[in-house]
């Protein structure tokens, strides 16, 4: 296990080993001591650090009284495979609908809906309490309103 700790601190363990070694490090005091010693050796060789400083016990004691920190998990990113599967399903559905539509005899196609110009009375000023609201709404909607209605005699396509 100590050899794996050595490789872990060098960033040379495979991702599937990292969890196991980290678990062992957290579970066994002797292994976490080994982790500290190996780091100390590196700092000493590089002469980079106050080698005598050791606050682990004091920090650990203070953290015992601290509430455990818990962060909400970040939303999992949608995996590319799933995203592509969803896109493929959409494309397949659209293709199926198109194929069914093209398969019909053109003569049997019926108009489901048709646009009918709206008469001017639709835009007549509205009186009553809701007038300001409706006026504002009409203003925001613009003048290009088209009423869509079922044409007389229209059949629903099968």
């Amino acid at each position: 296990m100590n050899e794996k700790i050595s490789a872990l601190m060098d960033g040379e363990l495979s991702p599937n080993e990292v969890d196991d070694v980290s678990d062992a490090l957290l579970a066994e005091e002797s292994l976490s001591a080994c982790w500290s010693e190996y780091h100390l050796i590196g700092e000493a060789m590089r002469r980079n650090g106050v080698l005598t400083l050791d606050v682990r016990e004091k920090v650990s004691a203070r953290l015992r009284d601290e509430p455990t920190v818990l962060s909400p998990r970040a939303p999992l990113r949608q995996r590319p495979v799933r995203r592509y599967a969803a896109m493929a399903a959409t494309v397949a559905f659209a293709a199926a609908v198109g194929w069914v539509g093209f398969g019909q005899d053109p003569a049997s196609q019926v108009v489901v809906a048709q646009a009918v110009p709206v008469s001017q009375d639709v835009f007549a000023p509205v009186s009553g309490v809701e007038a300001p609201y409706l006026a504002a709404h009409q203003e925001a909607a613009g003048g290009g309103l088209v009423r869509v209605s079922m044409a007389a005699g229209a059949k629903v396509a099968h």
Partner: protein, 199 residues
């Protein structure tokens, strides 16, 4: 998995409620953070207190850490702010300020003077650790010494060391581990961390 990714993984374990994972980050960074803070604060006892306080603050702030920067960069910033607050609270001015680049190449505003950590006892212990490690490295067989030196001093990856030494990566991993164990064996009596009595 890089060192930064490993730190991030430990951070995420702390964020999921595993306090012990924070101990590993403390063990990893305390001496480097202490060295940084000793550039601000001369007294060794104060450096120790501020280092401890910085780690506690970092722990409390961990829920907001999202990994946009490296953990150590984030930790060093907390350490510097803690040191500045300490100096202000004690009516002292930080020593000479200078821009110092951290390991990400970002400039940290800190004092660059007085990098020492002087008490006679701490100084003696520091010298003893350095001497022991140096002697242990010198005493290593050449293949182990080369591997550990390329790793710790030059920062080469195992793959790069394998190319330099003309051996498989598995051999490099084994040599570095054996070198560390050999040095640690010399160091443990000094630290009083023999296998049955460790820190």
């Amino acid at each position: 998995m890089s060192e930064r990714e490993l730190d991030q993984q430990l951070v995420e374990r702390v964020q999921r409620g595993e306090k012990r994972a924070f101990d590993l980050l403390v063990a990893k960074y305390q001496k480097r953070l202490g060295r940084l803070l000793s550039r601000f604060i001369k007294d060794s006892a104060d450096v120790e207190d501020v280092t401890q306080e910085a780690f506690v603050k970092a722990y409390r702030a961990l829920p907001s850490f999202r990994g946009e920067s490296a953990f150590y960069t984030w930790l060093y910033r907390i350490g510097i702010n803690t040191a500045k607050n300490f100096l202000v609270a004690n009516g002292r001015k930080p020593m000479v300020h200078a821009g110092v680049e951290d390991e990400d190449g970002e400039t940290l505003d800190l004092s660059s003077q007085v990098p020492d950590f002087h008490t006679p006892e701490a100084d003696l212990m520091n010298q003893q650790i350095l001497a022991t490690v140096n002697q242990a490295v010198e005493a290593l067989p050449e293949d182990l010494r080369t591997a550990i030196t390329l790793r710790e001093m030059d920062g080469l990856s195992y793959d790069e060391i394998a190319q330099v030494m003309g051996c498989p990566i598995g051999t490099v991993r084994s040599r570095i581990f054996r070198a560390r164990e050999a040095i640690a064996t010399q160091l443990r009596p000094l630290l009083d961390t023999s296998k049955d009595k460790r820190w």
